[in-house]
């Protein structure tokens, strides 16, 4: 967290304004409940610990079907992961390429690569799931409700509902081709730090991660906003005062001698 603890304490106060603003968003999206996120509100920031957990959930439960084709491995340093660790992580991925003999081959990923798509291409994805699992890079920005939508979708499965072959029931999307990503028994699932997250916690963490993937410079924008808007407010006040001073002088001169000749 570059902006430090100051930001976090201020954000607690800002959370109030978030709660007030939230109903409007969920209203538009219908059945989507609004959640509290660290990144909403004027001082919203990302919690790197949460993003790391979210990345872990993504790797375990989502990347078999989905890709993050716009997210470079190198950007993971923004999650407070060391560059060496990111390099190691990137090299665990297989990136398709054409080798020097002109044959299709795979090579280990490097920093500049983006998260690959295990299904390979849209045609194979459609052949497998009936509908291609969309790239998740911009998902948190491309639905009304944003992160709230993704969270509601991930926690909205109900396997008890009857559905036709190849389709599943979800409260947000009544007929969805995405199977429930959560196994029935997750009692021995652990985060790398040893904690055992609930389903909701995993959904929350992966949603935060996807929000970061969609809007990685949110913190920079918020910091920029505070500086720029404070500056502009000061400028507004100063320019107003300057205008009043000038106006008083101009009025005095006008009373005495008038302005330019309208016939001019």
């Amino acid at each position: 967290m570059r902006f430090g603890t100051l930001l976090k304490t201020l954000s607690a106060a800002a959370a109030l304004s978030t709660v007030a603003a939230a109903p409007a968003i969920s209203e538009a999206a219908g059945p989507i409940d609004s959640q509290t996120w660290s990144f909403t509100g004027p001082l919203g920031y990302y919690d790197e610990g949460q993003l790391q957990h979210g990345l872990y959930v993504y790797q375990t439960r989502c990347q078999a079907c989905h890709s993050l084709g716009l997210v470079r491995f190198s950007s993971l340093t923004g999650l407070d992961v060391s560059e060496d660790a990111v390099k190691a992580l990137a090299s665990t991925y297989e990136i398709p390429y054409i080798n020097d003999d002109g044959d299709r081959d795979v090579r280990p990923g490097v920093l500049n690569d983006t998260f690959p798509w295990a299904l390979g291409n849209p045609k194979r994805a459609i052949a497998t799931y009936g509908k291609a699992p969309p790239d998740l890079s911009t998902m948190a920005r491309s639905r009304i409700g944003g992160a709230d939508y993704v969270y509601a979708l991930l926690t909205g499965y109900d396997d008890a509902h009857e559905q036709p072959e190849g389709a599943y029931y979800n409260k947000v999307m009544k007929v969805i081709s995405m199977p429930n990503p959560w196994p029935a028994d997750m009692s021995d699932f652990e985060y790398p730090n040893g904690t055992r997250p609930s389903l909701e916690q995993q959904a929350r963490d992966v949603t935060a991660f996807l929000n970061w993937a969609a809007d990685p410079y949110l913190e920079e924008r918020h910091q920029w906003g505070i500086i720029v808007v404070l500056y502009m407010l000061a400028l507004t006040v100063i320019s107003f005062l300057a205008y009043r001073v000038v106006a008083a002088k101009v009025y005095a001169k006008l009373d005495a001698e008038g302005g330019p000749d309208p016939e001019h």
Partner: protein, 445 residues
């Protein structure tokens, strides 16, 4: 216009000005040209709009350095155009700010121009001798709408694609030539690479055409002079003030306030004014209904409310053609304003009945915007901070009282009636309040 002798003392400025008398023209219009001394804050939006045009051109130029107009999809199913926009947001230094300043800037440019135009409508700024000034303004509006639509397409998200398809399709309503125009616009039958490339070329070119029209607009203003809240002509030196320093300072204040709000939206709600679905590059889940950006909504409403065919003694005009005609007409009537409004009084301040219909017209535009955003066959509602205020009910059996479409027809009717019936007739019957003798003299009691 420009004085015959150079006003500058500095030898360099003086020498330059004597060879190219452009500085003298600016100096003259800032210090010697007569402006009404009573312009209120509604007059700030003109300079704000001008500065927004500059912001759009500068940010746009840098975006164009990184943008790739290609619909080619990679193995992720992401097209190159969309990827290049995301590349700007993720990899280019300061790119996220550039991109959001441009996309939010489009909205704020429209906000400035909309206030500017409603100000003109209220204070009668289109009446003689300002007809040409007003018409150039209408040309600016139409150019802006076109440029905004082209720019929106460039992102090539699913809504860009849908908008490009639907809007180019509108031109097929033109009899005989329609299909050829469609092919000309798209560069082929399909919404494809050829379309995106010509949209990019036009999106780059037209803002400079717009800037040219803006210069003409300002030159016309310099010639006929500013209107003012009283709508009466300048009578003497007592009524006037030079632009500098009074209006330069007032404009700087207005700009600072406007930019505070604009930049706050860039920082905290850069996508609030946009359709979220357009951040999706692939068409796996298509948008359920197609909506343009907010500033085009009233015109889009007028385009889509006509669902029936009109039979004029055997000559059938299809609903689609009616819609296209109505949309063209809704912009066309703006051009006719100087002749449709028959009242000799310019300012709405002295027209008690006009005022009533004017605010009705503002309301009409807001309602049409909501109509444009909602689904035709469903019950119409007004979104409020406390939830939806329904203005229609679904009676079942597929029958809706007060559907979006019905409200749309009603207010499309008011839109046209305002220009074609109300303004011409009102001018003949309304008894205006007494006008003051001059700006500097109060109304005679």
């Amino acid at each position: 216009m420009a004085g015959s002798r150079s006003p500058f003392k500095n030898p360099f400025l003086k020498g330059f000005d004597e060879r190219l008398p452009i500085l003298r023209a600016v100096h003259h219009s800032m210090t010697a040209h007569a402006y009404p001394k009573n312009l209120n804050y509604w007059w700030n939006f003109g300079s704000i709009a001008g500065i927004m045009l500059l912001v759009m051109i500068v940010t746009g130029l840098f975006l164009a350095m990184h943008y790739k107009p290609s619909v080619q999809e990679d193995t992720y199913g992401i097209n190159q155009a969309f990827r290049s926009v995301e590349h700007i947001m993720r990899d280019v230094k300061g790119g996220m700010f550039l991109r959001y300043m441009h996309s939010v800037g489009a909205s704020f440019f429209f906000i400035a121009v909309i206030f500017h135009m409603f100000r003109g409508l209220y204070y009668g700024s289109y009446k003689a001798p300002r007809e040409v000034l007003w018409i150039l303004g209408c040309v600016i509006l139409i150019l802006m709408m076109g440029i905004a639509f082209l720019g929106y397409s460039l992102v090539w998200g699913v809504m860009s694609f849908a908008a490009a398809e639907v809007i180019t399709q509108v031109f097929t309503a033109i009899p005989i030539l329609g299909d050829d125009i469609l092919i000309l616009l798209r560069g082929g039958e399909d919404v494809d690479d050829a379309l995106l490339n010509r949209f990019f070329a036009l999106h780059f070119l037209l803002p400079f055409v717009l800037a040219g029209v803006v210069i003409l607009h300002i030159l016309t203003l310099q010639t006929v002079g500013s209107n003012n809240p009283l709508g009466i002509d300048l009578k003497s030196k007592k009524d006037t003030v030079s632009f500098h320093p009074y209006y330069t300072f007032k404009d700087i204040f207005g700009l600072a306030l406007f930019f505070t709000i604009y930049l706050a939206v860039v920082a905290w709600a850069p996508e609030r004014l946009a359709e979220a679905i357009n951040n999706q590059p692939t068409d796996y889940n298509l948008p359920s209904h197609i909506v343009p950006e907010w500033y085009l909504l009233p015109f889009y409403a007028i385009l889509k409310v006509f669902t029936w065919d009109l039979n004029l003694f055997g000559l059938v005009i299809t609903g689609k053609q009616l819609g296209a005609l109505a949309m063209a007409g809704s912009l066309g009537v703006l051009f006719m304003m100087p002749w449709l409004d028959t009242s000799p009084v310019r300012s709405g301040r002295f027209r008690p009945v006009f005022k009533f219909f004017f605010w009705g017209f503002v309301l009409c535009c807001l309602i049409l915007a909501l109509v444009g955003a909602q689904t035709s066959g469903e019950a119409f509602f007004i979104p409020t901070p406390f939830g939806r205020l329904p203005l229609g009910i679904d009676a079942g059996n597929g029958f809706v009282w007060g559907s979006t479409q019905q409200w749309g027809v009603l207010f499309t009717g008011y839109y046209f009636a305002y220009f074609i019936v109300i303004l011409p007739v009102l001018g003949l019957f309304e008894k205006p309040k007494q006008l003051p003798a001059s700006i500097s003299e109060p109304v005679l009691a």
